[in-house]
């Protein structure tokens, strides 16, 4: 057993235990760790924003750059400054412009990406090809996938009553959804346990030195 002499390891270990104490019940140790975490994260976030965004992306190009195109940066700065209108009751409406700009730009950027990643890939993956029916098991597996995709889409059909064929298809779709959720749950829980193992290794190896 080789207990760590590094004070930072001790601080990290004590804070880990303070957070884990929440599993028993709310207590002053958890409250301390929670408020410390939140306060630090706000401060850290502000510093990261300043040094990773404002200084390299705005200040440095404007103050030290030579490219004439650097003055284009004044446009997003002006739009961004409108957000501060929220502090005035009279000018709070100004925030609508940066919001509209952000939502519009993000939608324009994400629509083609979503089409390609979520729709086209799904369509081409669902269309059964000769290769996908090569063996009986592969054929059964791909047929299940095909039925799963079609029935799940019908569950998300909102503008028709879920009655008759549509209703039956939607009910089948929700069965597929729940099966997928169950599989995903088990898979993710395993991943979370590996995070717990990592923390236990820190406590038992790095801090207490009980395990090698």
């Amino acid at each position: 057993m080789h207990i760590s002499t590094n004070p930072w390891v001790w601080i990290a270990a004590i804070l880990t235990l303070a957070i884990y104490s929440f599993l028993y019940k709310d207590n002053p140790f958890y409250k301390f760790a929670e408020h410390l975490f939140m306060g630090l994260s706000i401060g850290y976030g502000a510093v990261v924003l300043w040094y990773n965004s404002i200084i390299p992306r705005l200040w440095n190009p404007l103050a030290h750059g030579t490219s004439p195109s650097r003055f284009y940066l004044l446009i997003p700065i002006a739009i961004g400054l409108l957000s501060f209108g929220i502090f005035s009751k009279k000018y709070s409406w100004l925030i609508k412009y940066p919001l509209a700009f952000s939502v519009g730009a993000y939608a324009g950027f994400s629509i083609p990406v979503t089409f390609e990643a979520s729709i086209f890939e799904q369509i081409s993956g669902t269309i059964l090809t000769k290769q996908m029916m090569a063996t009986p098991w592969l054929a059964i597996s791909n047929l299940i996938m095909f039925v799963g995709v079609i029935t799940t889409i019908t569950y998300f059909y909102f503008s028709k009553h879920h009655k008759g064929l549509l209703g039956k298809s939607a009910r089948t779709g929700i069965v597929f959804l729940m099966l997928a959720f169950g599989a995903s749950f088990g898979y993710t829980v395993m991943a979370r346990i590996s995070l717990l193992i990592g923390r236990m290794q820190f406590l038992l190896h790095d801090w207490l030195g009980i395990i090698k």
Binding site: E34, S41, S102, F115, L128, F158, S184
Partner: protein
């Protein structure tokens, strides 16, 4: 003699990388013998006397994309590629200089453009129809929405507050916008029942939007005096700091109803489990498909993915939102049709191909390639 043959057969071409925003030149080698072990690409500009190393060419594709930050659009660049054989090195110069240009249109995105036009047209048509007759567009009932009244009512009976926990994405996320519409419905009910509400925010802009939404809901309920801006709080912009803060609030305030709405990540189960442990009725809604299983397991009602967006249309009953849902439904029918046609073409095409007629299979493969 062998070297001469090798030298004379390998050719190198430098050309503008297609479908990009400029600043990139593609160098492609042709007729390269398989015995090549390594290929290095060198670049020079007009006026330079020597070449400088640009990068390593792949010996699988014999292609190299030079996207160095020094590449300027409209300026000619000369390339030389050194091919390393087991016993010699052969240098081949590109037959013409490469010049980078920016393209206005990315041809590889044509399929996206066609689908965008089809979807947008459907949505616009249904928005117009919804404007003419908003009651004519039916949206099916969503059970989790009916549970909102039940949850707020239960909170009131127990004399406990109602919590509304926003997800971790900003105002640009469709799920966050839908969460704000759901918040409006919750806040209106809370105002009618005179129950305290606490809204936690991860994003400061979402907090501002939440304040406006709750204020409007209290005004609509005829209780503007009961609105308290301090009940819509910002915690932190750090994932687990936010989680720790919300968990702490849950165990101390012991809410009767908790709404977890928006895009969540790994904190979803921690939040839902804590809410469950304090005995609150929980209604979750997220478009994060990876987190849905946790909400399904730990919450009483869940708005699954697009249900959340449809729910906001159901609540709002605004023509734009109703028309969007109807248009999206037609879009889904269109996609199902394409999948069905693809399956028929692929199956019949494979049967005909086995019989010696590959024409239908060619059509099918072209459709697949389109995506």
């Amino acid at each position: 003699m062998i070297l001469f043959i090798l030298f004379s057969t390998i050719t190198v071409k430098a050309f503008d990388t297609p479908n990009d925003g400029g600043g990139s030149i593609t160098i492609k080698a042709y007729n390269v013998p398989e015995t090549v072990k390594k290929a290095l690409v060198y670049r020079k500009t007009e006026g330079d006397t020597t070449y400088t190393l640009a990068g390593v060419m792949s010996i699988l594709s014999y292609r190299y994309v030079d996207a160095d930050s020094t590449i300027k659009n409209g300026k000619p660049y000369y390339y030389r590629v050194d091919f390393y054989f087991p016993d010699t090195v052969i240098s081949v110069v590109s037959d013409s200089p490469g010049i980078a240009y920016a393209q206005w249109y990315d041809k590889s995105k044509t399929s996206s453009l066609i689908f965008l036009i089809v979807f947008s047209t459907l949505v616009l048509v249904f928005i117009q129809l919804a404007k003419k007759d908003p009651e004519g567009l039916y949206i099916r009932k969503i059970p989790a929405l009916d549970a909102i009244d039940e949850a707020v009512g239960r909170s009131t009976e127990l004399g406990k507050p109602t919590f509304f926990v926003h997800g971790l994405l900003g105002i640009t996320d469709a799920g966050t916008l839908a969460a704000l519409t759901i918040l409006r419905r919750v806040a209106k009910k809370v105002a009618e029942y005179d129950t305290p509400i606490l809204v936690t925010n991860f994003d400061p802009i979402v907090m501002t939007a939440s304040q406006e939404t709750v204020k409007q809901a209290y005004t609509e309920a005829g209780r503007p005096d009961a609105y308290n801006e301090k009940n819509i709080i910002y915690l932190t912009y750090e994932q687990f700091g936010y989680t720790a803060g919300v968990d702490g609030l849950m165990v101390r305030e012991k809410p009767g109803a908790i709404f977890l709405q928006g895009y969540f990540f790994a904190e979803s189960l921690i939040l839902a489990e804590t809410g469950h442990s304090v005995g609150a009725i929980q209604i979750a809604g997220t478009t994060a498909k990876e987190q849905l299983p946790f909400f399904v397991a730990a919450c009483d009602y869940v708005l699954i993915g697009e249900e959340m967006l449809a729910a906001s249309s159901y609540i709002g009953r605004e023509p734009v939102m109703l028309g969007s849902v109807k248009g999206a439904d037609w879009g889904k029918a269109f996609l199902m049709g394409i999948i069905g046609i693809g399956v028929v073409l692929g199956t019949v095409g494979a049967i005909l191909q086995s019989a010696g007629n590959g024409a239908l299979m060619n059509v099918f493969e072209k459709i697949l390639a389109f995506f």
